[in-house]
Symmetry: D2
Subunit: 335 residues, 4 copies
């Protein structure tokens, strides 16, 4: 958030433990610390210099109530993905965002990389022709070892059976949609567990049919031992393809049937190579642009910000994976 100087951090609730929260506030130079989000939403709303936007970086199942609390007070929201871990809640939240007219940004940070945006421009601009095959994966290795009660996303009560898809699959799903503009129409999925003793899935495959007749797969895993980061996509069209891998995030390969392949890089966009924080920063910068447009009463829907409806699409995707996997890989529709 602070990368571009577009935000100032002035208030927060940083932990369920108030003392820890105060310590963190002190480190961050934040003056106003609250015991919980309810108190924070109410108190900030009463101040003349109350916060204009809130950033929600809490466990998945708290996204809905916290978002609602701030939206009700007229505060713009930037929320971590997935939007929720419950489809009804997701749809409810999308409706509330719509009714509020407020800016709601979902931090699909990977779409902030310059080369992911370059991919979207190339594909949506027709450079590979009609899209036929979408191959996406987010397969990391840090769950290759059983970590006792501490699961890879903290508390086992919080992690759900489908955490691997919520955590990772939703990123892949968003990137494929972001680059192509397509939506999933049907999928057949499998969820598997590879570490002995583990009670939830740590790996998932989905075979996917997309809205224009394209097909593909989405692989999500935390047991891809040795992988560095493991997020990548390859999208093939009639005349060529694009490939992006997070391990080489500042290059985009554009292959063309029967010709030399082309490698794009940030300097072509008057940009420097970006790292993980820089990509996050780009999404926050877009949210700042949207908030400023909102202040001026301008339409900001065209800015391409990942929002509540993208979040709903993500939750629908996870829901479909779970339903298909439970029925032996039957073809199901996200709905």
């Amino acid at each position: 958030m602070r990368l571009d100087g577009r935000y100032r951090l002035v208030a927060g609730a940083f932990s369920r433990n108030f003392e820890k929260s105060q310590e963190m506030a002190s480190e961050l130079g934040v003056e106003r610390v609250y015991r919980d989000y309810t108190e924070m939403a109410r108190a900030e709303a009463e101040r003349d210099d109350g916060i204009e936007a809130v950033s929600i970086v809490t466990p998945h199942d708290s996204h809905h109530p916290i978002s609602c609390a701030f939206l009700e007070k007229g505060v713009h929201v930037v929320c971590d993905k997935p939007l929720t871990v419950d489809l009804d809640q997701a749809v409810d939240l999308e409706r509330r965002v719509h009714e509020s007219g407020l800016v709601f940004g979902l931090t699909h940070n990977y779409s902030g990389y310059p080369m992911v945006r370059q991919a979207a421009e190339l594909v949506r601009g027709g450079e590979i022709g009609e899209v036929r095959i979408l191959q996406g994966e987010f397969a990391l290795g840090r769950g290759a070892i059983q970590l006792g009660e501490e699961w890879w996303r903290g508390d086992p009560d919080i992690a759900t059976e489908a955490s691997v898809v919520y955590d990772l699959g939703t990123h892949t799903h968003h990137l494929l949609r972001f680059v192509t503009g397509l939506e999933i129409t049907e999928l057949s999925a499998e969820m598997t567990t590879h570490v002995p003793g583990r009670r939830i899935s740590d790996n998932s495959y989905a075979t996917v049919r997309w809205s224009n007749g394209a097909t593909g797969t989405i692989w999500s895993s935390v047991v891809a031992a040795g992988n560095e980061h493991g997020l990548s996509f390859r999208i093939y069209g009639e005349t060529g393809s694009v490939e992006w891998r997070h391990e080489d995030a500042n290059h985009l390969i554009h292959r063309r049937f029967g010709d030399a392949s082309r490698t794009h890089y940030p300097a072509m966009r008057q940009s420097y190579p970006e790292g993980f924080s820089g990509a996050f920063g780009a999404v926050y910068r877009d949210v700042a642009d949207a908030i400023q447009a909102h202040r001026r009463g301008e339409d900001w829907s065209g800015l391409g910000l990942p929002g509540a409806s993208d979040g709903v699409a993500g939750v629908r995707f996870v829901d479909a994976v779970i339903r298909s996997a439970k029925s032996g890989g039957a073809w199901v529709r996200p709905q």
Copy 2:
């Protein structure tokens, strides 16, 4: 074959058209030319200096009869993959090879690359622990455009509905088995067609369960527009993984959980970087070794040569893909 000087080419039937066959023989410096394989098998068997081995590089559906003709005459066989395009024929051929006691090599050329062999040594030697995930693909682009009546493997009467899996998938399937020693127990597959007007599948996805409980996918495609060659595998175990891609065939990446990744290269095996022809040559060299062992009356089964039983496994894999795809992705067993 000629790369190492282990073979001399002395006879052949190079075309259905005898004139063309004679021209080709002349170019190749071959003296004895035949009208067809029947004549060749009979005539060579009658000579004192008749051929010791035959190399079969004909359309898939002719592999069975040609192999039989030469095996009956006591001639060792080197045959292109897939073994056959019919499971009964495959099983029959395997039995005949077994009964003949002759050497039968299947040219799974990619297993001739030094770095594929290095992968097999690492994985079978326990360097990545128990195997959990096998991801293989052979996705090339040369079928991205409809080529009229000339389909990517020649005649449409010869290509079958599942040519993409016969041609490409059997390579991937063999490599995964070659590296891990595992067999497929069940799979769920999808076959799709992406080029308008095309009458056979040009793309296939399979989700796979392996004999030790590992899982994975196999993707076969001729519509991956822009891909150079498109064959690769990544195999993940408990403690690490190996990755090999044909585009960078002379490097093998061995990743290890929480440590630097390791890149292996031919000089580590006192070998030079190999190209496509060199990998083929390595398989032919292995066949020559087997034939020489056979001459000396020695056992040659331990040489790891891809043979008839590997070919049967490959045809069973394709057969299972077809059956699953026809029943909407149901889980089926190769049998």
Copy 3:
């Protein structure tokens, strides 16, 4: 600077043109704007809440007077490299920094990359044995075309004959010293001009002898047409080598004689991949650490911050390149 929240930007002189400076201050949210650095140094020194540190990002030949102005007022300095474009000024500034006891950080930003620091740890930790060969280069392409009177570093009155070495070579020189701890003892250099009509050098080669008997070359260029960024180093020792390239800044290759090569990555250091801004941020974070240590009266010299003496070494290097090139490549000592 703002990346970690360690600094607040409260005052500045952003342009020789006061109006432009005011506009920029407004964009940056800075309240106190000055007409020039002299006024700024004086006025801030008189305030109770005056600045604690200043960041100097001005043309090379102004680094000396501006640094002096703030050091005299007891303000810590973060200065862009090269330290100066005059060796006497460089030595004078080093002395003033020493006498002031203040923190002086030189923004050799590339040494902020996690993998450059990993390289230094490996090499200084003996992982490649005694260093024998140092190959460094910074060769970019943006000067491949003559840009009229606007030269690649602005005004032709400001750019000097050796700008390519001041701008680029000093980075390479610093990285090689940073990673190995060695100093140049002698060099033989050549400066060349490749774009017709250009009045200053746009390319330079130096063959170098280092303090432990190692040798190597340093190539600096702005006419390497097509290069993305072009900064890289390879350092060879008795038993292995390290290679780092800015185009793949988040990987470090460590090759070992007769063994697999090893690729290091940020997650091995509990770090995320960094981009250009993140590497700059790391240097600013180190300066903040040094300033805080200074406040507490603690010694901060061991923090490895690039400082005035590194700046002097850099200017000595450029000076030696110029002297050698002018005498037909004679071997000269930096002094």
Copy 4:
């Protein structure tokens, strides 16, 4: 030689030790074995079915007498590089080749790689504009350790002070000439020794001026510990550049100022990826073409075969490196 079936190996002298020579002949299936090249040249010349061409793969200092012996008998010659280790001998041999009218091929094998040929076509075709910078290197690691009396090219009596440049530098020099068509006009060189106790140079740097005003460097080393193969070139012109590295021999990168870079690969030339043996094979194939043209009385000079004059240029290059290094890096002309 045997890769394409263009040659038959029928006679040879394979070792100074006749028994060893006979053993080797038996392994290779060669019937006519000789005690030395003198006997071989005489005996083969007397036969009706005597050899048409000879391949010389002996120590450097024997290339001249052996070549002369066969040329005198009207036998075409394929000779390993360097042509000789003595400039007078090189010039003498070039003259004899010219007078004989026979085919003389120098096995600069790296120019047989499809992507090196692609580079030559691009650069000579003007795709990067006028060449400005040529950076070439052949730096391998197998001499990083002192190997006792057995030096990296065998006998210490055979290896010369400049073996590293003869062995490796001549390859780099040939590739740069092959791709650009330029010749060296002046160079300044340094030869160094990095392994304690070694009596000859193991490393060399040359700064080079080329015939069109371009500049560059050539680095040759056997102490680049950890390097895989270490041969590469990068050539920059007005509008772009090409880069080729032996470690990734089947890709050629063509970078263009301000645009995406382009990666070329063998399939673009209807070729498969080649390894080390395949590149050698391509040069032998070219020699076979030349010999066939010679038989038909046709001109074969336009086939681009590396020949005696290329060999002379290589020896002149080494000679200049030695002269410059001995005079402290003075600029000298190859002559």
